[in-house]
Amino acid sequence: MRLRDNNFQFLFPADSGRWLSFLRIGLGLQVLLYVLFLDRDWNLLFGGQHNGLLGRDLGDAMTFVQSPFIPRLAWIISCLSKVGLNENAALALVWWSLLVLGGLMLMGLFCRPVAVVTWFLQLACAKSSGLLSYGADNLTTIGLFYLMIAPFPDPWSIDRILRKRTTNDPRLLGFHRRVLQLHLCLIYFFSGLTKCLGAGWWNGNNLWRSLTIPPFDVLPIHWVATLGFVLPVTGIVICLLEVTYPFLIWWQPSRKAMLFAICAMHLGIALLMGMVLFGAIMIILNLAAFWLDGKSLTSETALANPQPSQHTAESLAAEKIAAEGI
């Protein structure tokens, strides 16, 4: 019974919801970066056989084979063609919609519908671009999926101010944060494990290649060569950092250091390899999941979830007095 209570309290810790505000703002920025970075290549990536680099029909077909119910751009373009919009106009509308939705998400206006529509459009773009999508798209979909199902409105949203609504159940906010935390632990564990299984991560070869092959060669190659002696150590540190993340991030004394190190690693990926969208989404997900606003998770949980045994007659009486204003 006590074990069940402990498990329940682990999965449903009461939470203020500030993490959700951070996730929403972060994903709003991510969506804005996504559309702005791809502005010049938008039609090339998502255009059909006659406009596109690869042709959207290929990505759509690959998605359709997996399941006909997965959103894709063909749905949107087909619907818009019925009101007289051609493919280029429809793609421009999707681009502008994502730009506006990113802005609304940033402000926290119409949180739920904005999150749902943004998730739908981003997923449709990621699926229709097919082989031209990469890890950043996938992780953005994960973030938007969690945002879409999260209990809104969050504390820093305009929705909350305008409608004077609050989230009913702080435990639900805690639960949704817990899902994100556990998912990140799985991501890092398997990412670290597969790196550990590659010989190139132990001798610096993989890091050398990551930093010197186009288009990741942001740093001049002679700089990387000058720092060649640190590559094996850095490679090993990255492997260990990722594979130990699920353990050290929960341990109070190491949590801040782990969070700092993993965010520094992703900042490095963004700046030194030019993978800005990938680095940004990983930092956003990590900070939303584990950034503690100066309070530890354990103490936060303990404060919000007093153990059943702590409900003494005195505390219950004090609560009643406080609630009834006697």
Partner: protein, 204 residues
């Protein structure tokens, strides 16, 4: 008393994370099975056993119209959990490149790679080229290169013919670079000749 909705959420969390773990396990065991890791050669029997559990539960071998498979695929795709997270792992060996040779009416030749304008577009194009390099299917590789050739031709409509060179690029190792060998060695693996019909929307 924990309400039904709390139990439902716990059930969803368990299934969701189980799927994430299964997809990742499947990918990791695939890498081990293909001898791409430092793990010594495992027996085919053991490999099959390891593969079976996630394969059965994530359903890649079920027929495409199987309801279980479609529900699972829909859910994993909409949640973004359909692929694992082995980025840059286990190894970064060779990279791949695609170059088109364009022949113009006056006989001169120009060499051009598929072109995008932004750095993020370049990252996506690199991802595509690497997937072309990894595929074992000739028809699939041919189709992807044909589409890229057509896109290049549409950009350069004056060209009379187009020839594609696809191959592996071996970058210099750190030791080689330090000894003054800063060469990326291109080994051509496939050559494609495209006719004028391709530009007009079809043909090879």
């Amino acid at each position: 008393m924990i309400s039904f909705w709390y139990w439902a959420r716990i059930g969803w969390l368990f299934l969701h994370l189980l799927l994430v773990a299964l997809v990742c396990t499947y990918e990791t065991s695939w890498l081990v099975g293909k001898q791409l890791t430092i793990i010594p050669k495992v027996s085919a029997h053991f490999r099959n056993d390891v593969d079976k559990v996630p394969e059965t539960l994530t359903g890649p071998n079920l027929p495409p119209d199987n309801v279980f498979r479609q529900v699972l695929n829909t859910y994993t795709n909409i949640a973004g959990i359909e692929v694992g997270y082995g980025y840059f792992a286990p190894n970064i060996s060779e990279t791949h490149a695609l170059v088109f040779e364009l022949r113009y009416p006056d006989g001169h030749l120009e060499y051009e790679a598929p072109l995008v304008s932004s750095h993020d577009g370049q990252l996506r194009l690199t991802s595509l080229i690497e997937q072309i390099g990894r595929t074992q299917s000739d028809p699939w590789r041919n189709e992807l290169i044909r589409r890229l050739a057509r896109s290049t031709w549409q950009r350069q409509p004056q060209a009379l013919s187009i020839r594609g060179f696809f191959g592996a690029v071996t970058p210099p190792t750190l030791t080689a670079y330090k000894s003054g060998k800063n060469e990326h060695i291109f080994s051509c693996q496939y050559i494609y000749d495209f006719t004028l019909a391709l530009r007009k929307g079809g043909g090879r």
